[in-house]
């Protein structure tokens, strides 16, 4: 423990609350934002935990009337949504925020202010979601809000609307945060840290962030469509009016299944750091752990329909999805062997962190194996919507988010605060949670096999059900007690825990090379990075890793921050548009549609003319970039001005088109052609408008002569976005106006 850290803690305690809070609220420091993410997650963990407790009280005895059916529906919906979006997401993002810059030897994340925005927007989304309770109707359609239950005719109150908006807002925050982390990892690594040398935590979180960028957009498009259904009277998901309820399931699980890996990968990341350190060995098979994470990212996109076996996809699709689901067990299985082999022959120190890591390993295998059972279609038919499913995904998710992250808390708390947590209390907490968790959820496997349905507010007094449910409910007490022990441990340690020093665990990675807690700029000096374990090399010069095995040297080339950001943003937007366009194609390839269609309603030549204006704007933007590079302000301003005018003309063309359609009484709620047409084109127009705002900002900067060379990269980044908007329009034009596909 450094004297500096003690002084700063002491200083914190003597100042006024307002002066202590403001630096946090106004902070753009990745460490403070990381800690705020974690605190947000703890607050919602308590709320979501209370909801779960109420559910378990209701289910403790048969035919209970503690909760009304309506209240029960709201509670399990909010419990699921909270735990996924407001506990899991902030927790993994918080740790990544705190640790990644430290692990790669950077001063902060790539975009500190964007980072603060991501956090506050997430907090705002959480408040919005919970605000629904004040309207008298919290969301009650389950965490996946299946259509048509979630459509207006079946859920006329505001609950589902709050759910949609809350999730969309949080989704935006998550994508921004993920892009920020990827850019940080790619662009800000310290000299010597080639991508092949980053700690596994960093590599796996890179994969996880990529998965967030790829997986959240499908959710956002689904939410957009559902909201248009509910508020503007479209019928995407209303079968009664020609819509397709199964489409919601496809879109939702296209997000929902990768989301499982969005939670699993961070726990893999934590475990890959904790197990080697407490086994006193380097990780066994670094490349296998890293490579299998890449495989998971790819495969997780191809298995969503295994959530839909009960829908009736047809035998061909079911066989393929079953096979894919079995396949994805392979990369995960590889990791289990890697961790086990790392412990094999190591000198294991059974600290609290290590205990939680080992419990994670065993429980995750149980959850994984029941998952493989579900890959078999007939088993899935038998067990779907029973408590077997509940038991399965709680084994997966609680192992990942709770057990692995308890390990993370005990492992990194000393770094974050400069003080050690009590090992005695930690072990007490461990055993309480181990008993509580398995007691609550293991019996649910049996209940599920007996056929107890999930999401039903009570059950009849069938043989064995009462006893097993009572065991399940009673065990919750242990988890609550364990959590209280953790909170007590944290409070106690903050006041008089023993000082941690820089590297209490003799760990290997860079975050332990600086003080605990780290200074605002993170490092005063960095050790030389010549292998994957720079601190091991520093402490054991004659046994240094680089003397025995080589890793590819750092080329020192790093991509530009602004352009990396722009590309990632464009990728996520592209997926958003692909799904909107998919809905257009699906609904307009039906031949029995009543009312206007693309061939009868649209004026193709006129729009083709306006298309030329938009495409020309890409060329003029290119000229503007050339002007900027040549240092000619006049050329830059003229070309950029022309670009803006061309964009405005295109939007005017859109407005004329809309006016004509509306005059013919073709509105968004007329039929599915109109709904899909207006949705796709207006989202595109919105993107054009956003691009115009960005271009105008640069035009004003140019006017005020503040465009120094350091602005070249941001201008290029906006250019990537602008060209992307044009490309999207080419696709939209070909599909909607020209009828390709």
């Amino acid at each position: 423990m450094t004297t500096q850290a003690i002084e700063s803690t002491a200083a914190l305690e003597t100042t006024l609350p307002r002066e202590r809070l403001l630096p946090w609220v106004a902070s753009v420091d990745h460490k403070q934002i990381g800690i705020m993410y974690m605190l947000l997650s703890v607050i919602f963990l308590i709320i979501g935990g209370l909801e779960a407790t109420l559910i378990r009280i209701q289910l403790a005895i048969p035919n209970n009337t503690f909760l009304s059916p309506e209240m029960f529906n709201q509670l399990f919906t909010m419990h699921g949504t909270t735990m996924v979006f407001l506990v899991g997401m902030p927790l993994v993002t918080g740790f990544a925020n705190y640790l990644i810059p430290l692990m790669i030897g950077a001063k902060d994340v790539a975009f500190p202010r964007l980072n603060a925005m991501s956090f506050w927007i997430l907090a705002f989304g959480g408040v919005l979601l919970y605000f629904s309770f004040l309207t008298g109707s919290a969301p009650n359609a389950g965490w996946f809000s299946y259509a048509p239950l979630s459509t207006k005719p079946y859920s006329s109150l505001l609950g589902v609307d709050y759910w949609i908006i809350g999730l969309a807002v949080m989704g935006v925050g998550s994508i921004a945060g993920a892009i920020n982390l990827i850019t940080t990892i790619l662009c800000l690594r310290a000299p010597g840290m080639s991508l092949q040398r980053v700690p596994l935590y960093v590599w796996i979180m890179l994969m996880q962030s990529l998965l967030v960028v790829l997986a959240i957009p499908p959710l956002n498009s689904a939410l957009a469509l559902l909201y248009i259904d509910r508020s503007l009277g479209a019928a995407f998901f209303e079968p009664a009016r020609g819509g397709n309820a199964v489409l919601w399931q496809h879109f939702f699980w296209l997000f929902g299944h990768p989301e499982v890996y969005v939670f699993a990968l961070p726990s893999f990341a934590v475990i890959s750091e904790v197990i080697p350190v407490f086994s006193r060995k380097p990780i066994y098979g670094y490349a296998f752990v890293a490579g299998s994470s890449v495989a998971i990212v790819l495969l997780s996109y191809g298995v969503w329909a295994h959530h839909m076996f009960a829908v009736g996809l047809g035998p061909a699709a079911e066989i393929f999805f079953a096979a894919m689901t079995l396949l994805i067990a392979i990369p995960t299985g590889i990791k289990i062997f890697n961790w086990t082999a790392t412990m094999w022959g190591g000198s294991i120190r059974l600290t609290t962190a290590m205990l939680f890591a080992i419990a994670f390993l065993i429980q995750f295998v149980i959850g994984g194996l029941t998952g493989v059972m579900f890959a078999s279609v007939p088993v899935d038919w038998q067990l779907t919507d029973t408590y077997f499913v509940v038991a399965h995904f709680h084994y997966v998710l609680i192992s990942c988010i709770v057990f692995a992250f308890f390990a993370a808390v005990y492992y990194w708390f000393p770094k974050m605060t400069g003080r050690m947590l009590s090992e005695r209390l930690g072990k007490l907490q461990f055993w309480l949670w181990l008993i509580g968790f398995n007691g609550t959820f293991f019996v649910q496997h049996l209940l599920g096999l007996m056929g107890m349905p999930r999401r039903v507010y009570t059950y009849a007094d069938l043989p064995g059900w009462g006893l097993l449910n009572a065991v399940s409910s009673a065990s919750v007490v242990f988890m609550i007690a364990g959590t209280l022990v953790l909170l007590w441990n944290i409070i106690r340690s903050l006041q008089h825990g023993s000082p941690a020093g820089n590297n209490p665990w003799n760990a290997y990675t860079l975050e332990w090379a600086t003080t605990s807690p780290p200074p605002p700029e993170n490092f005063s000096s960095l050790p030389e990075i010549k292998s994957r374990r720079p601190l091991w090399d520093l402490d054991n010069p004659e046994l240094a890793d680089w003397k025995f095995s080589s890793t590819p040297e750092d080329t020192l080339s790093r991509p530009t921050k602004a352009k990396t950001f722009a590309w990632l943003f464009v990728v996520s937007e592209a997926i958003f548009f692909v799904l909107l366009l998919a809905s257009y194609v699906i609904f307009n390839s039906q031949t029995d549609q009543q009312g206007p269609t693309a061939t009868t309603a649209l004026n193709v030549p006129r729009t083709a003319a306006f298309t030329v204006f938009l495409l020309a704007s890409s060329a003029t933007f290119w000229l503007a970039e050339q002007g900027l590079r040549a240092g000619s302000r006049i050329r830059f301003l003229t070309s950029l001005g022309v670009t803006i005018i061309l964009g405005v003309i295109f939007l005017a063309g859109q407005a004329i088109e809309y006016k004509g359609l509306l005059a013919n009484n073709i509105t968004i709620d007329r039929n599915l052609f109109a709904s899909t047409f207006f949705t796709v084109t207006s989202f595109h127009a919105l993107h054009v408008f956003g691009g115009l705002v960005a271009l105008s900002i640069f035009w004003i900067f140019g006017q005020q002569k503040i465009l120094t060379p350091r602005w070249h990269a941001p201008v290029q980044a906006v250019g990537i976005y602008w060209h992307f908007v044009d490309v999207v329009w080419i696709v939209v034009f070909s599909i909607i106006y020209l009828g390709v596909l």
């Binding site: 060995k281 490349a287 490579g291 890449v294 495989a295 191809g302 035998p315 061909a316 025995f548 596909l741």
Partner: protein
């Protein structure tokens, strides 16, 4: 499977195979066993997808059989051909126009993914199934497009290969491309290749196929899933291969390094 009508043993594809083999033997001496195996597998695959039941059923009966043929010609055969090319020979060649064009990954990507999309536009797909000439054109173009697609990854010219990480992005996006098409073919209600919905039953087998459950709807489902899953699995395997290449850039130096002493438990 064993019925004689399901095999087309006197197909002209043997001539193509012979020409390929002779040319390879003449051009690329001395023979290396590994590369020889690659070119032999490529030729064997070409022969098989035309003479075996896959080839016969692809000729107007089953969309899914056509899809197997399509994927083997587009993905596997070109990949094996590229592996069979000796890099020393290409290193010495002066860069000609075509080779330089192929070096641009964006063109390779468009060729590879474009070939999948283009030949599954309903009118083109039907035309290629019904007319032998267009069918031949399609098959040849698939192999050519496949060569262009794999060139940035397996080019015999070292300097034209993409950096492993860029290669991963290249294949990952390709996977998204074929996934989209596969999803579309699987779930769409319209017939992607109308030629297969009403086959002229030359060998009296349609009834048998229907009995097996291979109705046109199921057949198209299968075709879509074949377009979707196996290519992605192949891309994923190559991605993992590239990753291992990326992690072991320094392998040759490894053997010169001293062996690490066994780590004792007491070590901290």
């Amino acid at each position: 499977m064993l019925r004689a009508e399901l095999w087309n043993l006197n197909s002209p594809v043997w001539i193509v195979a012979a020409v390929m083999m002779i040319n390879y033997m003449l051009l690329f001496r001395p023979i290396n066993v590994k590369r020889m195996l690659a070119i032999l597998s490529a030729i064997a695959l070409i022969v098989l997808v035309f003479i075996s039941p896959v080839g016969v059923l692809a000729d107007g009966y089953l969309f899914s059989a056509h899809m197997v043929q399509h994927l083997v010609l587009l993905l596997l055969v070109p990949l094996l051909i590229l592996i069979s090319l000796p890099s020393e020979r290409f290193q010495r060649l002066r860069t000609s126009g075509i080779l330089r064009g192929n070096a641009t990954p964006i063109i390779g990507w468009i060729c590879g993914i474009g070939a999948m999309w283009l030949w599954h536009i309903p009118s083109l797909c039907s035309a290629a199934t019904e007319s032998t000439g267009i069918g031949l054109l399609r098959d040849a173009s698939l192999v050519a497009a496949g060569l262009a697609f794999w060139w940035p990854v397996f080019s015999p010219r070292q300097e034209q290969r993409l950096d492993p990480l860029a290669g991963i992005v290249y294949l990952f996006s390709a996977c998204l491309g074929c996934t989209l098409l596969g999803v579309y073919i699987t779930f769409t209600t319209i017939s992607v290749c109308p030629a297969f919905t009403n086959p002229t039953d030359r060998i009296n087998i349609v009834g048998h196929l229907y009995d097996l459950g291979l109705t046109p709807t199921v057949d198209q489902h299968l075709g879509g899933l074949l377009m979707w899953v196996p290519p992605c699995m192949l891309y994923l395997s190559v991605i993992l291969f590239l990753l291992s290449r990326w992690y072991s850039t320094m392998d040759d130096r490894l053997s010169l390094l001293p062996q690490r002493p066994v780590q004792a438990g007491s070590q901290l």
